[in-house]
């Protein structure tokens, strides 16, 4: 697959129309479509607040001082560009599925599509591909030509190793000072609580976090039959079973996991988006963006 092949016209057409708008205020390097969290000299006045030492004295509202004899600061909302950080899981578990339903391919397509949309909005986007480590990284850029680098990097991804999301999120939270949008694309097959801790860490840093949970239909519905030797994609473990015999127990566990993850995300202010690879990406993405617009 070439880099441009991840930019499906039908996906992009629908997603572009909807745009990707940060629901929250993001920090941008330049004026854009997004509200800046930096209240100051921008167009729209928001509020006054009391001066505290350390505030730039340029922002003191002297008129207000004259009226009230107190130092107050004028605050404005600022339209600004945001920086999105795409974190793509390239562990072995993402290898599951064949053709368009392959999770990693689906994740690559999603990442490419999001990158394109972000760049088209003149926002910056960066990329980190990871498994237990970060195996590839592109710093954020708002240049449209950055898209080629992104797609090339995505194309070169080879899944390997296990997933280790939580440490990665901690690292990202520590490394990315400026608030932005962190977009995690992963199957998240690891313990929920460490994962949520990582996500909360990002949120604590002020980032908007979107979790695209890439799942294969088989992993959720478990429609398998016959005698199957399940070979772990991550590790050496093998399990022999007849899936239909354990389906109820499996589904119960998976649903519990998804429920826990979803609730944890909601509680942490993380956008949780479940993406099943058997569903057309365009539809899924458009649906999410539409919902995002409605709630912004």
């Amino acid at each position: 697959m070439t880099g441009s092949s991840y930019l499906k016209p039908e996906v992009l057409a629908r997603a572009e129309a909807l745009g990707l708008k940060a629901r929250r205020i993001v920090e941008g390097l330049r004026v854009g479509d997004h509200k800046s969290p930096y209240k100051g000299f921008s167009v729209e006045f928001v509020q006054h607040r009391e001066y505290v030492p350390g505030d730039d004295i340029r922002h003191i509202d002297w008129k207000s001082y004259g009226r009230s004899d107190r130092y107050t600061i004028k605050q404005y909302e600022q339209e600004t560009n945001f920086t999105a950080h795409l974190l793509v899981d390239a562990s072995n578990s993402m290898r599951y599925g064949s053709g368009p339903s392959n999770k990693l391919e689906y994740a690559k397509l999603l990442a490419a599509s999001l990158a394109y949309l972000i760049l088209r909005q003149r926002d910056a986007v960066g990329l980190r591909v990871f498994n237990t480590e970060v195996v590839a990284e592109l710093p954020p850029s708002s240049q449209l030509g950055h898209l080629n680098s992104l797609t090339r990097t995505l194309e070169e991804i080879q899944p390997q190793e296990r997933t280790a999301i939580a440490p990665l999120l901690d690292r990202v939270a520590d490394q990315v000072r400026r608030r932005g949008i962190v977009i995690l694309i992963s199957d998240c097959f690891e313990e929920v609580e460490p994962l949520l801790t990582g996500l909360r860490h990002l949120r604590f840093r002020g980032h908007e976090v979107i979790l695209f949970h890439i799942l294969h239909h088989d992993e959720v519905e478990f429609p398998l039959d016959g005698n199957i030797r399940f070979v772990a994609l991550e590790g050496m473990e093998e399990l022999l079973t007849q899936p239909h015999l354990i389906r109820p127990a499996y589904l119960r566990l998976v649903q519990q996991y998804l429920r826990d993850l979803r609730k944890g995300c909601e509680a942490s202010g993380v956008d949780y988006v479940q993406m099943l690879t058997n569903r057309a990406l365009g539809n899924a993405l458009a649906e999410y963006l539409a919902r995002r617009l409605q709630t912004s």
Partner: protein
């Protein structure tokens, strides 16, 4: 428990199939790379115990199903008969009742024919490779064949030839022989089929032994009773119980009345019975006599008379028609027809001038009242001093009437010693001797010369004489006559009075310690008439005279001495029976005359059904043992009613008459005493278990036997259980979510 198809049990090895499949399917797991192993592992752990239990139950159900199928195909069963012999070869024995009750034609066809039909049908449905032995039984049993026990065609032929006998039924010997025949085969399964009318008499004779034998058969094989009698209809039956000829002594030139005693032995009245009598195969009367109705239990005498044309042994045969049981509708008696009976009267007090006063007057007139020369009893009177050995020629009885004996003082006063010697031989060879007392009879002389120390002719030792008072003569006592005595008629009213009218003035006295028997005593208990067997002959001794000297015969109009003389003569002549009368089943015993002991002999048997000439069977003479004076042959197979005769090879029955080897065999009337059929409850009580009883008939027996064969099987139940098990297994598999 037995199995009809034990090889099928090997199918139980198929129990390995589900196990192998189980293992095989375990091995056939296709690999699938998988991400969320954690959930999978947890799901497996959560369900592992439940799945293992389900799997184990399922495996057990399937193994059980295989075992059930194998056992069902092996067709297990309880009873020995059914289980082993449903399809495999059997050693079958057909035990056919040939007692004459099987000849009863109840329902239009005889019971034996019904048995044959059922036997043929069963024969056609024996499992392949089976053997057959036919055994018949009545009061004994015969192994009929076939010689090659696998030759079913020969068995069919033998069955066709079976005829009812004249014998009664006894199941025990039949069962014994049938079981021996069954055991001689090599097949593991034994089946004994008893084709019988289940007549109660045949079962209850020896219940204990019968029960033991039946249970022995049941424990090792199959015992099936094929009921050959009509289920509803009781056969009508009138039997001939005997033929009595009327008159003193059968003789030529006269018509002899024969009374045939009929008896309705059935449970229903019988109408239109026709009775006929034949003498030597010729009907005595033109038409048979028809009896309108004989009630159950009623005896009905029918009298027919026939002329006796020729002297010799004549066979009188009575036959009736009109009931359902022909076996007892015939009866035979032999009749010795005399032309003349010659009697020698040795008179101790002859009176040629006035025969009425002679000592032989009363006896002579009693034996030939009309003094007719054509009378069949011919008397020859000779004085005691003139009688000699030649006078005994042709005589059958000799009267010694007040005969004196020679003594030293009177050396010519009586018969010569030669006469006495010949007289002893005469008696020992079967002649009759009647000694009457009188004044010439000296007890001492008689005792000395004719007693044990002399010629040993007297029944008892003589001890003397006694004389009655003038006005108190001795009287005879009719009750003193034994009931089994040939003079027992004198106990009857009329005769008894005549007997007791006789008054005796004198009598001899005897010591009753002797070889004789007292037939008549007087009122004081003293013997009047005594008898003694000597050789083949008989000696009678009157203690008083047979004339007017010691008793008053003239006071009696002849009602005593005439019948007395005739009865004595009848008794003496009857003792020489023309032929032995036997009941079917009894053994013929015959002493071979010296003239024939080097001759090949044959037994002439009554002709078989449809034949006229008698059947011939070689007769082996036994080896003479040391010290044995004469040979004796025996014949036990008297199972047909009719005339039997032992003759030199190639001779006819007339030769048997000449040699005294003629035998008349009549049906065993015990058989028709009651034709009642044993009920299943009685059979159960007698045999100790509920026997299998199936109806006879081609259309009924085979299905009943087939039903019987499958009755003891568990196959149906096992297959049903298998079906239920498979349903349970399927339901369980569905619950467990398993196709396999």
């Amino acid at each position: 428990m037995q199995f009809a198809a034990p090889m099928m049990l090997a199918g139980a090895a198929a129990i390995a199939i589900p196990i192998v499949l189980h293992l095989f399917y375990r091995a056939r797991y296709k690999p699938l790379p998988w991400g969320p192993m954690t959930f999978l592992r947890q799901a497996i752990e959560q369900t592992r115990r439940r799945l293992r239990l389900q799997e184990l139950i399922l495996l057990l159900l399937r193994c059980l199903a295989i075992v059930l199928l194998a056992v069902a195909l092996a067709r297990p069963g309880w009873s020995g008969l059914t289980a082993a012999s449903r399809d495999g070869p059997v050693d079958a024995v057909f035990l056919v009742d040939v007692s004459y009750s099987m000849g009863a034609a109840d329902g239009g066809v005889s019971r034996l024919d019904r048995a044959k039909e059922a036997a043929r049908a069963l024969l056609d449905h024996l499992p392949a490779g089976s053997s057959i032995q036919v055994v018949t039984f009545a009061d004994r049993a015969w192994l009929v064949g076939p010689q090659q026990r696998f030759n079913l065609d020969q068995a069919r032929l033998l069955l066709e030839r079976l005829e009812p006998t004249a014998l009664a039924t006894d199941l025990l010997p039949g069962l014994t022989l049938a079981w021996e025949a069954a055991q001689s085969g090599l097949a593991p399964a034994k089946e004994v089929y008893v084709f019988t009318d289940l007549q109660r008499l045949g079962l209850e004779r020896n219940v204990e032994a019968l029960r033991a034998k039946a249970q022995e058969i049941r424990n090792h094989g199959q015992l099936v009773f094929v009921q050959c009698g009509h289920p509803q209809r009781q056969p009508t039956n009138v039997a001939i119980e005997g033929i009595q000829w009327q008159g003193v002594i059968p003789h030529t030139r006269t018509r002899m009345p024969f009374t045939v005693i009929l008896h309705n032995r059935g449970t229903t009245p019988v109408r239109g019975i026709q009775a006929a009598v034949e003498i030597d195969g010729r009907a005595v009367e033109k038409d048979a006599i028809q009896i309108d109705r004989i009630e159950p239990g009623q005896s009905w005498p029918v009298t027919l008379s026939g002329s006796l044309e020729e002297p010799g042994i004549r066979i009188v045969r009575a036959q009736i028609r009109g009931d359902d049981l022909p076996g007892d509708n015939v009866f035979y008696i032999p009749l010795l027809v005399r032309d003349k009976i010659r009697v020698l009267l040795v008179d101790g007090t002859p009176n040629p001038d006035d025969p009425v006063r002679a000592g032989d007057h009363f006896v002579r007139t009693a034996l030939n009242p009309g003094r007719s020369p054509d009378h069949f009893i011919e008397t020859e009177s000779v004085s005691a001093t003139e009688v000699g050995p030649r006078h005994l020629d042709g005589k059958e009885a000799v009267y010694l009437l007040n005969v004196p004996l020679r003594t030293e003082s009177n050396p010519l006063g009586g018969p010569s010693p030669e006469f006495w010697d010949e007289l002893v031989k005469f008696v020992r060879n079967g002649g009759g001797l009647i000694i009457a007392a009188g004044d010439n009879v000296s007890p001492f002389t008689y005792q000395t010369q004719l007693g044990p120390e002399g010629r040993d002719l007297l029944p008892f030792p003589l001890t003397g004489k006694r004389k009655a008072e003038e006005n108190a003569p001795y009287r005879l006592a009719a009750p003193s006559l034994p009931t089994d005595c040939f003079l027992a008629d004198f106990r009857k009213p009329g005769y008894a009075e005549a007997l007791e009218r006789i008054s005796l003035q004198q009598t001899l006295t005897v010591d009753e310690n002797g070889p004789g028997r007292v037939l008549i005593r007087d009122t004081q208990g003293q013997p009047y008439l005594m008898q003694r067997h000597l050789g083949e002959g008989l000696v009678l001794l009157f203690a008083s005279s047979l004339d007017e000297s010691w008793c008053h015969f003239s006071a009696d109009p002849g009602s005593f001495h005439v019948p007395m003389a005739l009865l004595i003569l009848k008794h003496l002549t009857e003792r020489r029976r023309p032929a032995q009368m036997l009941t079917a089943g009894e053994t013929i015993l015959w002493t071979v005359p010296d003239t024939l002991n080097q001759t090949s002999l044959e037994m002439l048997l009554p002709p078989v059904s449809g034949e006229k000439n008698p059947e011939r069977a070689p007769l082996a003479l036994p080896t003479r043992r040391p010290g044995q004076s004469r040979l004796q042959v025996q014949w036990t197979e008297t199972y047909r009613a009719g005339i039997y005769g032992i003759v030199p090879q190639g001779r006819s029955l007339e030769a048997a008459a000449e040699h005294g080897s003629l035998f008349v065999v009549n049906p065993d009337l015990r058989e028709s005493t009651s034709l009642a059929v044993a009920t299943p409850e009685e059979m159960t009580e007698w045999l100790g278990f509920a026997p299998a009883i199936v109806p006879a008939g081609a259309g009924e027996t085979v299905p009943a036997i087939q039903q019987l064969r499958s009755r003891g099987e568990w196959t149906e139940y096992l297959l049903t259980a298998l079906l239920v098990l498979l349903v349970i297994e399927s339901a369980w598999a569905w619950v467990c979510g398993r196709a396999w």
